[in-house]
């Protein structure tokens, strides 16, 4: 490992200091650590080192050396290499470090490595009892973030079908990550953990984001508000012993011991019925009648298969 670290540092320094792209052969002859290798060993080593640099955030580019695109060279533009300075104060870095220790993504604390690039932060003392697990794997979130910030097209598989999307934004809500964008058939919202085979397009600035786009507005508050069903308003009644709790979900204040009757906009009937039935017999949809029919059918089906 010692040799790898030295070799890669030497390679990066050489690339940062070269005013013109340099060929692999040039690197092999010049940079300390590559000599005395067979052709094959050198190429394997060089490929691995390039991947390593890119994974560290180094913008290593391959450029043609002539208009016929016969020879290629490598270059790292110092301007593109350097982290833009967000101008954080030490107190702000400490606050970010504390937040990074509180939040988990993909099962681990993340963000602290990134914070080192911003200067790190001295560790505080004391117990921080608050924590948030945001689920999801970070690798795919990173890809989506790249596509959104650089306006690149996305391709992925969702529910078994190939999809294309111009991703405008992404967000976490109630335990899940979503990506929102423009698909061939209009604005669409996808749950990230149900996407697979995510591919980010080669082309930068492949689309423009609508000027007033706000991902919060595009992601609905409750699962039954996000859907492609015809929008209806359902009237629902909760018995007193669950009313306070349902009220919290709906954002309605319910006095102690009172029932709750509420009108709820629904765009995903299935999700709504699922939520209503999670209250067992303590909640009832009063209108519309078609939804009552659907619930009757659902209960009959459950009785049929499990009652």
């Amino acid at each position: 490992m010692q040799n790898v670290v030295e070799r890669v540092l030497n390679l990066l320094i050489y690339l940062l200091e070269s005013p013109v792209p340099v060929t692999a052969e040039d690197i092999r002859q010049t940079v300390l650590g590559y000599g005395d290798q067979s052709d094959e060993a050198f190429h394997r080593m060089f490929e691995r080192d390039k991947d390593l640099l890119r994974s560290l955030g180094v913008p290593l580019e391959r450029q043609a050396l002539d208009i016929w695109e016969v020879d290629f060279g490598y270059v790292v533009d110092p301007e593109k290499y350097a982290i833009p300075d967000p101008g954080l104060t030490e107190e702000e870095r400490v606050a970010l470090a504390v937040a990074a220790r509180m939040v988990r993504l993909g099962g681990t604390n993340v963000g602290l490595e990134g914070l080192l690039k911003l200067g790190g932060a001295e560790r505080g003392v004391g117990i921080e009892p608050l924590g948030a697990d945001l689920g999801a794997e970070t690798a795919v979130l990173g890809d989506l973030f790249l596509a959104i910030t650089e306006r690149r097209d996305l391709r992925f598989v969702y529910h078994g079908a190939e999809r294309r999307l111009k991703p405008f934004g992404m967000g976490h809500r109630r335990g899940h990550w979503y990506v929102v964008g423009q698909g061939p058939e209009g604005e669409r919202l996808y749950r990230v953990d149900r996407m697979s085979g995510v591919e980010v397009g080669e082309e930068r600035d492949a689309f423009t984001r609508p000027r007033r786009f706000d991902v919060k507005a595009a992601m609905s508050n409750h699962p039954w508000e996000a859907g492609s069903d015809e929008r209806i308003t359902a009237t629902i009644r909760f018995d007193p012993d669950v009313a306070w709790w349902a009220g919290r979900t709906l954002g309605v204040e319910v006095p102690d011991g009172a029932p709750l009757e509420s009108e709820v906009p629904v765009a995903n009937r299935d999700a709504f019925i699922g939520w209503v039935l999670s209250f067992g017999e303590a909640a009832e949809v009063l209108a519309p009648e078609e939804m009552r029919d659907e619930i009757r059918a659902r209960v009959d089906a459950a009785l049929e298969s499990s009652g």
Binding site: M1, Q2, V4, V5, E6, L9, N10, Y14, L32, S55, L56, G57, Y81, I83, D85, P86, E91, R93, L96, V98, A99, M102, V110, G111, G114, L116, K117, G119, A121, E122, E128, P129, L130, G131, A132, D133, A139, G142, L146, I148, T149, F168, G171, H172, R174, G175, H176, K216, W245, R248, I273, L277, G280, E281, A282, I295, R298, A302, L303, S306
Partner: protein, 309 residues
């Protein structure tokens, strides 16, 4: 692929050099703390930096890096005056962490301004394109967080998730956390004299009691794992593909998986939770085994049919 250790070692070196260069003398202690080094690792990394530089690799071309008394010195490394850009994963992770705490209404003013500045730097023209909403009621969270930090006992009126009953309990809160869209408080429950996890939105009333508790050491990582016990109600259930989301939300055991169905074993302290689940799934699930659950589904189903007559 290079080993993760090589990657993180290089990442730390590339962050360390610009930091030291930007300062007019930095103490060893500060560097250890700030970059999470121990002294041996720091010495090793400085020795590595010391033998790297520009082609020629003579004394005039190499970087300088050493510990002088209690100061870290790095010189002749102008090409590393700035750290490398954040990768998209690093940028998103850091931003999401900050936004989650802001979203929970638990951020200090410093964190709020830090998130603003960071967002402007890593996505200058993507303003409102990222959001992290962890819901939760800021006031309740704040009180629970405060009680846990100050080791104060809290008295809660709690509606149990499985048994539809309300109890008043004194708990010693250790941690307040959110996962899969809900907030929980983890701690010692004095009513049952055992560790318990409570859903914050099921706490109807909350009162901080003027009594301190002893915080045990080695508190388990908070999480909503359910540990099965002998008194459990069991249900063997076949899920059709449209009900596969159940696997993400409930701590179930997968017994058999075919293209058409997933067979699971559902443990629960009583029949209530699996029965409700089966009702909402309709024909998306089939109960294969579990008499108590079957009886509960039947009773609940009848009651619902009465209501919807």
């Amino acid at each position: 692929m290079s080993s993760p250790r090589t990657v993180s070692r290089l990442a730390r070196i590339l962050a360390l050099i610009p930091y030291v260069l930007s300062k007019d003398g930095v103490e060893v202690g500060e560097i250890l703390d700030r970059f999470g080094y121990d002294e041996a690792q720091l010495t090793k990394d400085l020795n590595t930096v010391f033998v790297c530089g520009l082609p020629g690799y003579g004394p005039g071309e190499l970087m300088e890096a050493y510990i002088d008394g209690d100061e870290v010195v790095i010189d002749a490394a102008d090409y590393f005056a700035r750290a490398p850009k954040l990768t998209s994963t690093e940028a998103l992770s850091l931003l999401a962490a900050g936004m989650a705490i802001v979203g929970a209404g638990q951020a200090s003013p410093e964190l709020e301004s830090a998130v603003d500045k960071l967002a402007k730097a890593v996505m200058p023209d993507a303003g409102s394109a990222i959001s992290v909403d962890v819901s939760g009621e800021p006031e309740t969270l704040e009180r629970l967080r405060g009680a846990a930090a100050d080791r104060n006992v809290v008295r809660i009126t709690y509606r149990s998730l499985s048994r539809e009953t309300e109890t008043v309990r004194d708990i010693e809160p250790w941690a307040v956390f959110t996962t899969l869209g809900n907030w929980y408080v983890q701690g010692h429950c004095r009513l049952v004299d055992a560790e318990r996890v409570f859903r914050v939105d099921r706490i109807r009333q909350l009162q901080v009691v003027d009594e301190e508790f002893e915080r045990p050491t080695g508190i388990p990582e908070p999480g909503v794992t359910y540990s099965p016990s002998d008194d459990d109600v069991m249900a063997r259930i076949a899920l059709s593909p449209q009900a596969a989301w159940v696997l993400d939300y409930y701590p179930v055991e997968v017994l058999k998986e075919t293209k058409a169905t997933t067979e699971i074993l559902f443990h629960s302290p009583d029949a209530e939770i699996p029965a409700r689940l089966l009702l909402r799934l309709g024909d998306g699930a089939r109960l294969l085994e579990g008499d108590e659950v079957r009886a509960r589904v039947a009773a609940m189903g009848r009651a619902l049919k009465d209501r919807y007559r």
